[in-house]
Amino acid sequence: MEVTLDTQLESVDLAENIVTRVAEAAGFGEDDLHKLGMAVREGVINAYNYGNCQDKRKKIHLALELEPEMLVVHIVDEGCGFELSEIDDCLAEENLLRTSGRGLFLMRAFMDDLAVRRGPTGGADLVLSKKLPHPVSGNGKSQT
């Protein structure tokens, strides 16, 4: 499933709603739905603020993949990309009173895996993965 979002604040709520609906259909419970929603929210906020620099001419691309054992969410912006190693540690004492910089940390805390790749136009492709509560077997049936 792929959705193209406008670079606007409303896209944050929209992306969160889309992903939580898909995740709910995939069998995630309330707690995981909240975590997934928050992680996607943080990813789209980053794409909006830092990737696309709030430039309304740019788009945010949201893609969801339901793999046998994982739900994978891609959040792709049209910025310049970044490296995870460039990001300051928000838990470091000297950074605790900063008013920003916690988004990636929260994404990592709420998902089972987080990776940053280069998107097709050079922007960041945030890849968020969460294990399905009931992995799907090769014949398409969920395993409980």
Binding site: L9, V12, H34, M38, R41, E42, I45, C90, L91, L96, L97, R98, T99, S100, R102, G103, F105, L106, A109
Partner: protein
């Protein structure tokens, strides 16, 4: 409106009862402006009641931190009370429990403002 705040006073403590979501955009702005107004009115003791705040994102956390430093720079104190489990967990994992004085209920929070 994503966040509503109702102000009241107990002695010299300004208490803001918030309800809704503290998220990027309107919610964060409401929090910021409310605290800014109280500091502008000369309030030195500000207590934020987050009992009815069921959702906060990193922007909201940033605004709480910003509110804390703004009050502190005006020689005041800002405390939080009655956090929901989800908000408490976020404050915990971001190590902000080492920054904020978080109280479980109003009597404890009011008592926490008394000089030691």
């Amino acid at each position: 409106m994503s966040l509503r705040g109702t102000c009241r006073e107990v002695g010299d403590i300004a208490i803001v009862d918030f309800s809704g979501k503290i998220t990027l955009g309107e919610g964060s702005a409401t929090l910021r402006q409310t605290v800014k107004d109280l500091v502008g009115q000369g309030k030195k003791k500000i207590l934020l009641n987050l009992e009815d705040v069921d959702y906060i994102d990193s922007s909201g956390i940033g605004e709480l931190v910003g509110a804390y430093t703004h009050v502190r720079s005006a020689a005041g104190e800002l405390k939080l009370m009655q956090l929901t489990k989800r908000v408490k967990d976020l404050i915990q994992i971001t190590r902000l429990f080492t920054v904020f004085d978080v109280q479980s209920d109003e009597p404890a929070a009011i008592s926490a403002f008394r000089p030691k």
